[in-house]
């Protein structure tokens, strides 16, 4: 009972704390995710802005050089001075009014036509962002007019770069397979987006709606559902450029870690509970066994105490008190059922003589031997008790007539006939027996005892080693 209560409480504690930890862990991961979206966005924004500035600076440098020198191949000159972005990735071209490429770092483009940006919406000087296909790759183009002061313009400078370049900092380690780095133009068209190892573009991303749905979309990540992925998302409009960056972390992917952790916690709670139950079961069983053992010891002590209280220590026979109890019981039982029993009063002849001459130790030994012989001479259902000194009482159950008692009395007398070996010598010890019958010789224990005693006395008078019945007149 106590153990089941303890088990219940401890189980509650275990599962309660597992629940608490799982919850805490999940909240920590959500918080961590929001923080990392912010950090990744900060870094990404800085990199994109720097990359765009480098491109814009190169555009302005080419324009300045074209306008201030009459050198035939401006790009070659600048390239030799290592003033242009590496040709490995960036293609820089000068385009004339008709859109024909007249100078370029990629000789394959020479003489081809590029579509000029529509000037009407852009004004005199501008940085236009567009896209082209080159070598089976999507490239982003950045264009500035060559002569911003002149009406109608006289050509453009164009820098083309693989769109991948702007998402090359994607790291699966921090962004996962379903995260997102994206560059989106002012109309919400995705210029380039990377999720895992795949690059997308041309999709429509309604960032205007996302931004208006949260008050602080610049610094506080918000949850979006886009293309079947729930993400913690941040959108930043870039200063000075007609582009926004979008950074997303998949909620599912980020929480996977938390779920793994939660599984671990539940599993551990399970193991601990199992262990706890086993330990408590063992403890419970041990305690039950201990209790039983203690009970047994107690019982034994009670029995021992009873033995002490109701038995004679020398001969181990029932003592006077126990006999008195047995006789009273017998009186009640036989009185109720109309049955009878006999009390035999026994006294060893010449015991006092031996006790005085050979010593108490020998006397005690004699008493023990006599007790054994008497016990051996009676029936199973009868009781031999020691009153004290050399006096014994025998309760014979279910006897009513003298002829039933006589054989037993004779058996008792003859049991003593064999000499006792005391201090190395044989001694003949006899016994005198007085008999009182219930209900004829008395109706209670006291009178029966008194009458049996009297009969024994008469047997002694008659010359010892005799049986005398109370009801029969003294001879």
């Amino acid at each position: 009972m106590l153990f089941s209560l303890v088990a219940l409480m401890m189980l509650l504690v275990i599962w309660g704390s597992a629940y608490f930890l799982v919850n805490k862990e999940r909240m920590a991961i959500e918080r961590q995710t929001e923080l990392s979206v912010g950090e990744i966005t900060d870094t990404y924004e800085a990199r994109v802005v720097r990359a765009l500035r480098e491109i814009d600076t190169a555009l302005k440098l080419v324009r300045f050089t074209v306008n201030s020198t009459d050198h035939a191949s401006v790009l070659n000159v600048l390239n030799e001075q290592r003033l242009l972005p590496p040709a490995l990735l960036f293609t820089i071209s000068i385009v004339d009014e008709q859109g024909m490429v007249i100078d370029t770092t990629d000789s394959g483009l020479l003489g081809q036509y590029l579509t000029p940006p529509s000037q009407s919406t852009l004004g005199d000087d501008y940085l236009a962002v567009g896209e082209i296909e080159a070598y089976q790759e999507k490239q982003l183009t950045f264009t500035r007019p060559l002569m911003p002061d002149q009406e109608g313009g006289s050509g453009w400078v164009v820098i083309a770069i693989d769109a991948n370049y702007f998402v090359s900092s994607y790291e699966v380690r921090s962004l996962g397979q379903q995260g997102m780095l994206a560059l989106v133009d002012s109309e919400g068209i995705v210029r380039v987006r990377r999720s895992g190892d795949t690059i997308h573009s041309g999709e429509l991303m309604d960032i205007a709606v996302w931004k208006s749905s949260t008050p602080d979309a610049v610094t506080a990540p918000f949850l979006t559902h886009w293309q079947g992925v729930e993400s913690y998302t941040l959108v930043r409009k870039l200063y000075d450029f007609p582009l926004s960056i979008v950074v997303g972390l998949s909620a599912q992917e980020q929480l996977d870690a938390a779920q793994q952790l939660a599984r671990n916690y539940w599993q551990r709670a399970g193991w601990t509970s199992g262990l706890l139950l086993i330990i408590l079961a063992i403890l419970g069983r041990l305690s039950w066994q201990l209790q039983r053992a203690r009970q047994r010891v107690m019982d034994e002590r009670v029995i021992h105490a009873q033995q002490l209280a109701f038995h004679d220590t020398l001969t181990d026979l029932p003592n006077r008190a126990f006999l008195s109890h047995l006789v009273s019981q017998e009186v009640v039982l036989c009185g109720r059922h109309g049955e009878s029993f006999a009390l035999l009063f026994l006294d060893l002849d010449r015991f006092k003589l031996i006790n005085d001459s050979l010593g108490h130790a020998v006397g005690d030994y004699l008493l023990q031997e006599a007790a054994k012989r008497l016990t051996g001479a009676i029936r199973e259902s009868d009781v031999v008790a020691r009153l004290g000194g050399d006096e014994f009482i025998i309760l014979l159950r279910k006897v009513s007539r003298t002829d039933q008692i006589e054989p037993i009395a004779d058996e008792l007398l003859s049991s003593m006939r064999q000499p006792f070996v005391l201090a190395g010598q044989d001694y003949n010890i006899s016994v005198s027996i007085g008999v009182a019958l219930f209900p004829g010789d008395g109706l209670d224990e006291q009178s029966l005892m008194k009458n049996a005693d009297m009969a024994m006395y008469q047997a002694k008078q008659a010359g010892k080693n005799k049986v005398h019945f109370y009801s029969i007149a003294p001879n």
């Binding site: 990199r47 720097r50 990359a51 035939a72 191949s73 070659n76 290592r82 972005p85 590496p86 040709a87 490995l88 990735l89 693989d162 991948n164 370049y165 702007f166 090359s168 900092s169």
Partner: protein, 145 residues
């Protein structure tokens, strides 16, 4: 103007001639330095690190300036596949990431082996790779261990 146009043309013709004449030789490049360069040996990992922009110094604090060849030359792809184990496309992606994250700039690219040789002769710190047919006494072949 005239000079500038003829140089690539000559190299193109030369390259084509070489490919036709001696095919196995075209599939080989030599890593070379100036005869005055302070080193003649490099471990292959040093070479890879230098060309991927991971380091500019080798043992003893010697500074090394790598020279590249422009994209599309036979020597270039042969060099990168053989010495760095990466395809030109992987190299391009590598530099895109390096430049975008602000970690470095690719080695200066020259248009052909001849231009590399000219630069190496002038610069003892420079390290380059060339078609074996351009090897002369002003250069030393670097042993790659």
């Amino acid at each position: 103007m005239c000079k500038r146009l003829t140089a690539p043309l000559v190299s193109l013709l030369l390259g084509a001639a070489l490919i036709m004449v001696n095919h196995p030789a075209a599939a080989e490049v030599l890593v070379v330095v100036s005869a005055e360069a302070p080193f003649t040996r490099l471990t292959s990992s040093d070479l890879r690190d230098i060309y991927l922009g991971r380091r500019t110094l080798i043992a003893n604090g010697v500074q090394v300036v790598p020279l590249d060849q422009t994209e599309g030359t036979a020597a270039r792809s042969e060099f990168y596949i053989h010495y760095t184990g990466q395809t030109p496309a992987q190299i391009k992606a590598h530099w895109a990431r390096q430049i975008f994250t602000g970690r470095g700039q690719p080695p200066q690219a020259l248009t052909n082996s001849r231009a590399v040789v000219e630069r190496l002769v002038r610069d003892a710190k420079a390290l380059g790779y060339i078609d074996p047919s351009f090897l002369d006494e002003r250069l030393r072949v670097v042993t790659i261990e």
